[in-house]
């Protein structure tokens, strides 16, 4: 007999998906989803990238009716998913090198076009190292040519696969193994780093978006949106790394949410170079709340509180909030 | 084997001249090889191109060091580079100039020198001072190795209609000039 579950018994965060009409539910709620990145892989517990990739790929699979080919840069995602002779990928998947995934994806797209197989779509993916650093030339080339590829960057703000070194996406003050928490200005340098999404927008490609694993529904809908378009598209997903960030494996999703709520990671969409939508901050938090649970920022609080550095990070968040209009009620 | 070295300046069509000469020889059933001096010279810089013509397949790849003939597309090069280096005694020299060979300092040269105003002819027929077609016409008359018809055919195969016709006309004019010049010399 069917047991009827009462509303309050479902838990407040689970309610939404179940109450939605079937067509609006997440891909992951569908028992027949592709499971593109299937279980048994070797990611760390609490891995934000594994979570993000699973949602992205399954959403892309649904959006394309399963007609998808994937290209992967070297990095954690590649290493934990394909230790020979095993593979967690249930989609056609190609790994070539660290710095060339966008170009390899371009080659796949060119081949499919030449072979008249435009029913098959291409998704390239990599971490922030493979995307914003070593693969950036190839990414820019793919963008400017308008190759029919969605490239997804899983940004965990450093070279986690090789032992947590600094990348061009590492935030200021963060401790990495190449920006140690020593000396008068511990951690990563202020004034360095780049915004890959803004640079992607400068290519005036059809679609650029940011997302996090804190809002998986939003992530899925952006993938679906991207796969509904042709040409070069870019999706930049913030994926906390418990190992590299020194955070509790159970807090990965919460930390991603704090990154958004603090304003440090603006979530937005852009079309042809112009911002077209932003995800407003509902419950604003100070950056300190985001920084505290992460050991990579511990030197900002111990042995003494570095108000100067925390203020510097808060200023970055405040600027993001003003720049993207993340607090619609506030006129700045 | 007959070896021709062509001296000119970047932009004058030196490489094209060597290729046209090779094409003309090929059309006559010979083996021919044309190649540039492999530089990265910019417009106006001295440039050299080579052409070998033989009855048998050509295997040799060295630059032409002992030419049987030298074509000089720009007479100012005579003062700058040793364009006659390695030229055999009795070798042919064809110079593009409106000046007399004595003025160019070529009268005591051991080779057979002919001066033809190729740039002037080119300006007349093409409206542009691109001397190579005229020089090739002159060269056909000078050495008799290839016919004017083959030069004309090579030009037509290379360039579109009106440009080809202007060039072939310049080549024919130069051919006539050199023929007349040689006859005059023979009488003298």
């Amino acid at each position: 007999m069917t047991q009827h579950v009462r509303f309050y018994q479902t838990g407040s965060f689970a309610v939404g998906n179940r109450l939605l009409p079937a067509e609006a539910r997440t891909v992951q709620s569908d028992p027949t989803r592709a499971n593109s990145l299937t279980s048994g892989h070797r990611a760390c517990r609490g891995c934000g990238e594994a979570l993000g990739a699973r949602y992205v790929l399954d959403a892309a699979m649904r959006a394309t009716g399963g007609r998808l080919v994937t290209v992967n840069a070297t990095g954690c995602l590649e290493v934990f998913s394909t230790p020979y002779p095993e593979s967690s990928w249930r989609v056609p998947w190609l790994h070539s090198l660290f710095g060339n995934a966008p170009a390899v994806a371009s080659g796949v797209a060119a081949a499919l076009k030449a072979r008249g197989r435009t029913d098959i779509r291409v998704l390239g993916q990599g971490g922030d190292g493979g995307t914003v650093d070593i693969g950036f030339g190839a990414l820019s080339g793919m963008f400017e040519r308008g190759d029919d590829v969605l490239f997804v960057c899983y940004d965990n703000q450093g070279y986690m696969n090789t032992g947590v070194q600094r990348s061009g996406a590492t935030p200021p003050a963060a401790r990495t193994s190449t920006t140690q928490a020593v000396g008068p200005a511990p951690g990563n340098v202020f004034g360095q780093g780049k915004s890959a999404p803004l640079i992607a927008m400068a290519h005036e490609i059809p679609y650029v978006a940011t997302a996090t694993i804190a809002d998986l529904h939003d992530l899925e809908s952006k993938v679906e949106r991207a796969m509904g378009l042709h040409g070069a598209r870019y999706l930049h997903v913030l994926v906390p790394c418990p190992l590299g960030w020194g955070s509790d494996a159970a807090q990965t999703v919460r930390i991603a949410r704090l990154a958004v709520q603090s304003g440090l990671f603006p979530v937005f969409e852009a079309e042809r170079g112009a911002v077209s939508a932003v995800s407003p901050i509902r419950h604003r938090v100070l950056v300190e709340e985001y920084l505290r649970p992460q050991a990579r920022f511990r030197h900002l609080f111990e042995p003494e509180r570095r108000a100067d550095v925390i203020d510097g990070l808060q200023a970055i968040a405040d600027r993001n909030i003003r720049r993207f209009g993340l607090l619609p009620g506030e006129q700045t | 084997m007959f070896e021709v070295r062509i001296h000119g300046r970047g932009g004058q069509g030196v490489v094209t001249a060597a290729e046209l000469l090779a094409a003309a020889a090929f059309a006559e059933g010979r083996s021919a090889q044309a190649f540039p001096s492999f530089g990265s010279e910019r417009t106006g810089a001295p440039v050299v191109a080579f052409c070998r013509i033989a009855e048998r397949p050509i295997r040799l790849r060295e630059p032409i060091l002992r030419p049987d003939a030298v074509i000089v597309q720009d007479a100012t090069l005579l003062r700058q580079t040793d364009v006659l280096a390695g030229l055999a005694d009795g070798g042919l020299v064809l110079v593009n100039s409106t000046r007399a060979e004595a003025e160019l300092g070529l009268s005591d040269h051991g080779g057979r020198v002919i001066v033809v105003p190729a740039s002037r002819l080119a300006r007349e027929y093409l409206g542009r001072p691109l001397p190579n077609a005229a020089l090739l016409g002159g060269f056909a008359a000078l050495c008799g190795l290839i016919s004017l018809e083959s030069v004309t055919a090579a030009i037509r195969a290379r360039f579109p209609g009106p440009v080809a016709e202007a060039n072939t006309a310049a080549a024919a004019a130069a051919y006539d000039l050199v023929r007349a010049h040689r006859k005059e010399r023979a009488r003298a």
Binding site: R67, L68, Y84, A111, G137, A138 | Q33, A34, F38, L65
Partner: protein
């Protein structure tokens, strides 16, 4: 049909007749004329069902070729010199993944000092990249080897580079019988990839392999290359039957039969060597030339056979390993019986002409037993002395 045609154009037309589906290119002298001609073939519609991708670097050129090949397309690119080095990482990847990409290398020196002219430093630097390397003696061979290369690459599922001397061949206009479309179609079947990215049969290509299997992967790559040693002469026979002209796929011996001295070389210098040797033969010196078309895999058995009883082997190298010596010589030494003399002559670096006069002098010295084991042809002692002078 013979036509008087630039080497680059002959290669481009031939590659076009091989029906590539993806061509990617980044310009570098002296490769440019090849990719320019191919871009025109695609743009004009003469070459259909083909994507021409203008990429932002050679690294991307090889990467696009990798993606295209893995997605089931016949993929082609061309480069030279610094460009080959810039794609070095991707070269190893293409061969490691067993992707049958064909690439033209318009051989050129490597800087510093920057030098755009011909030698073999570029291709030789990638001799261990897992690519098959074939060297063209003239532009007919350059064109023909591309047809052979696609066939061999796809049969063995391994990439092949066709090396042609930059400028000396790429920019030379001479008579070439460009393989016709009909004949190429008879010789080269449609690409049947061994592995392909296909949603209907998902494959993981490029997995991580640890110590437990890496040696075996490399061993199999080695044995796969060795298969080319047997397959190349067979394909050359098929080529001759289809195109009605010979193609030396492994080695090309010239007047070696009764030679006491054999000069071994690769590429366009072979023509000049043959003319030189003819002259020396007339002067009574029993000397021959052995051209290597295949350098990888190294045709050791064919070389040994061709050398026969010659007691003196002179290797003419268009590249060399600083601090060691000849590169081809190093491969050749273990092949030779112990009673043979081996000389290395480094010649034509950075485009220095290799002339008959210099060759004759050097080979005559070898003949007279006066040649040093390692010689640099036409070494300019004045420049060496000038380099030693300390500026005041």
């Amino acid at each position: 049909m013979l036509s008087q045609i630039e080497g680059s154009r002959a290669v481009a037309e031939t590659v076009g007749h091989c029906r590539p589906q993806v061509i990617c290119a980044y310009p570098i002298s002296p490769q440019t004329h090849i990719v320019e001609a191919l871009s025109a073939l695609v743009k004009s519609g003469r070459l259909t069902a083909c994507e021409f991708v203008n990429v932002e670097s050679e690294f991307a050129a090889m990467s696009v070729a990798i993606g295209a090949s893995a997605a089931g397309a016949r993929a082609y690119t061309a480069t030279a010199s610094q460009g080959l080095l810039y794609m070095a990482e991707a070269l190893y990847n293409a061969s490691g993944l067993g992707l049958p990409i064909v690439m033209t290398v318009a051989n050129r020196a490597i800087g510093a000092p920057i030098n755009i002219w011909n030698d073999h430093s570029d291709a030789m630097s990638q001799r261990d990249s897992g690519w098959i390397q074939l060297y063209a003696e003239d532009n007919q061979a350059a064109a023909d080897l591309h047809v052979l290369a696609f066939r061999l690459a796809e049969e063995l599922s391994t990439p092949v580079m066709v090396c042609m001397d930059g400028f000396v061949l790429t920019h030379a206009v001479e008579a070439v019988d460009v393989p016709s479309q009909a004949a190429v179609d008879r010789f080269l079947p449609a690409f049947q990839p061994r592995q392909v990215l296909d949603p209907d049969a998902p494959l993981t290509i490029g997995a991580m392999v640890g110590p437990e299997a890496f040696t075996e992967v490399r061993y199999l790559a080695h044995t796969n290359q060795l298969r080319a040693l047997a397959r190349l002469p067979e394909l050359a026979d098929q080529f001759a039957a289809t195109f009605h002209r010979d193609l030396d796929a492994l080695v090309s011996p010239y007047r070696c039969d009764d030679a006491s001295t054999v000069v071994v070389a690769l590429g366009s210098v072979l023509g000049t060597l043959k003319d030189t040797v003819d002259g020396m033969r007339t002067a009574g010196m029993p000397i021959g030339v052995l051209g290597l078309t295949a350098f990888r895999p190294f045709p050791a058995a064919a070389i040994k056979t061709a050398i026969g009883a010659a007691k003196r082997i002179v290797v003419l190298e268009r590249a060399f390993a600083a601090g060691a010596g000849g590169i081809v010589s190093a491969d050749l030494a273990p092949v030779l019986p112990a009673d043979r003399e081996l000389y290395t002559v480094v010649a034509g670096l950075g485009g220095r002409p290799v002339t008959r006069d210099s060759l004759r002098e050097t080979l005559a010295a070898a003949f007279a037993g006066r040649l040093a084991p390692l010689t640099f042809l036409d070494l300019d002692e004045r420049l060496l002395r000038a380099a030693e002078e300390v500026p005041s």
